[in-house]
Amino acid sequence: MKYSYFPGCSLEKNAASYDVSTRAVASRLGMQFTEVEDWNCCGATEYVSLNLTAAYSLIARNLAQATKNAGLDQVVAPCSACYLNLRKADKVLGQDAGLADRVGKALAAGGLSYKPGSLHIRHLLDVLYQDIGLEALGAAVTKPLSGLRIAPYYGCMIVRPSFHNGDDDPEYPTSLDKILKALGAEVVDYPMKAHCCGGHMTQISEASGFEMIRRLIKGADDYQTDVIATICPMCQLNLDGFQGAMNRHFSTNYHIPVLYFTQLIGLAMGMAPKDVGIGDEIVSSAKALIKIGTAVEPEPAGPPKRKKDDKSLPMPGRGGGVA
């Protein structure tokens, strides 16, 4: 399984643990990553707010560079913003002839070209879920994360906008839930799992930015979450890095560690914590991770038998309303 790898700016320093754990897990699973040559910043949500052609040209340069990896048409991006920018640009350039023409001319000025539709842009989560699969992941687990209550946090840009391509549900995705379950963890049915972390909002309006973070942390806390698993460096920075400032702003006292899902996969595969960047997080995961390796939780019993005086109405289960 060979892929072009697009780390993105965050994975260089800020989210180095994501990069390290991703490469370690990929290597263990027999995936071969070839980094996109001399890649540049994808522009996040910033450039597209200033100049449309420049923003798409900035992204398209990466697409052009990726095509230099001969024979590799799958590009995997661990960061949701990079993933969305690359995928969206590829799609929009295939539909908007005027923009494609301008971007084409701009790329040519740098000696590059790109034909829309030449690459398949994938998020790392999707690659692990679809290409590797739950069975292979489960088989690679040597130290199940038993007893650890993990809230899967997708954030927004991986599931929205929907490209309607067999991708995960844009409102209620489940791929990460299933992966975490395959790792043996107790997966929290986290209602905020696809809600936005606020992106750069902390720098525009503290009150607004911190409130968005608070909602997510509170939501996880309400479900007695031990660890939040993320798939995007921006989300990780917001929930982890700004957790303290958020606490101070609201006079709350949350302490929920936020780890990358690849770090958790690495731990479940028996890798040493430091080899997957554990310890890089601001809100320490040490206390939560003590739980791993403890006595295995008993399998939850099936749906309880109805008691004789049980008046409760059944939940919708089957075809739903067909008469």
């Binding site: 540049n40 996040a44 949500t45 910033e46 309006s205 607004s208 400032a245 101070r248």
Partner: protein, 187 residues
């Protein structure tokens, strides 16, 4: 097939500036966007209200509104809109129009984007320390103290880069972006 509005050039401007913007003509004013928006309560106008104002040709109040700058690109509105209007893309378009005409009352968000891109254009990659440094000095001088623990934590855990990374083909990138801006200015 739609008839271009001669009486509402602003509507036509917005529709032309956002990829897929034509769908805006079919807005039901149902309010799903305003209802979905996580930062909606902090906006001057809900996204829906903004579209009603665009339909009313209110160019300056729309472009001066803080609404697009509070958009976090979560795409909930886009995914839920019953008319499949690409709302997030329209927000980006409004930001571009506002920047081009200098029509914003609060420069915090526009400046943040400009500062971010300044590093990208000069080095090819984003530079967080530079971004935060410049931005905080200009817009939130005492903010640095509030996140001191985070700053210290980032440094001690090796998550803080102290110098920007320069890509190899930076000249090529600069030529690409210069050309792109030239072509954009002609649209």
């Amino acid at each position: 097939m739609h008839r271009k509005s001669a009486s509402n050039p602003f509507l036509e401007e917005v529709v032309a500036t956002a990829p897929g913007g034509d769908a805006l003509r079919t807005c039901l004013q149902c309010g799903t966007c305003g209802g979905s928006c996580p930062s909606g309560p902090d906006m001057d106008h809900t996204p829906r209200m903004l579209f009603a104002m665009i339909n009313g040709g209110m160019r300056e109040p729309v472009l001066r509104s803080n609404t697009p700058w509070y958009c976090v690109s979560c795409y909930y509105c886009t995914v839920r809109c019953p008319k499949e209007i690409p709302i997030t893309e329209i927000m980006y378009a409004l930001k571009r129009l506002a920047v081009r005409d200098g029509l914003y009352d609060d420069s915090t968000a526009p400046d943040f984007s400009k500062t971010f891109i300044h590093w990208v254009e000069d080095y090819g990659r984003s530079f967080e320390l530079g971004l935060m440094g410049v931005h905080m000095i200009r817009h939130n001088p005492f903010g640095a103290f509030k996140i001191m623990d985070m700053g210290v934590g980032m440094v001690t855990k090796g998550r803080m880069g102290f110098a920007p990374t320069r890509i190899k083909a930076l000249d090529g990138l600069k030529r690409i972006l210069a050309k792109a801006k030239e072509l954009e200015a002609q649209t």
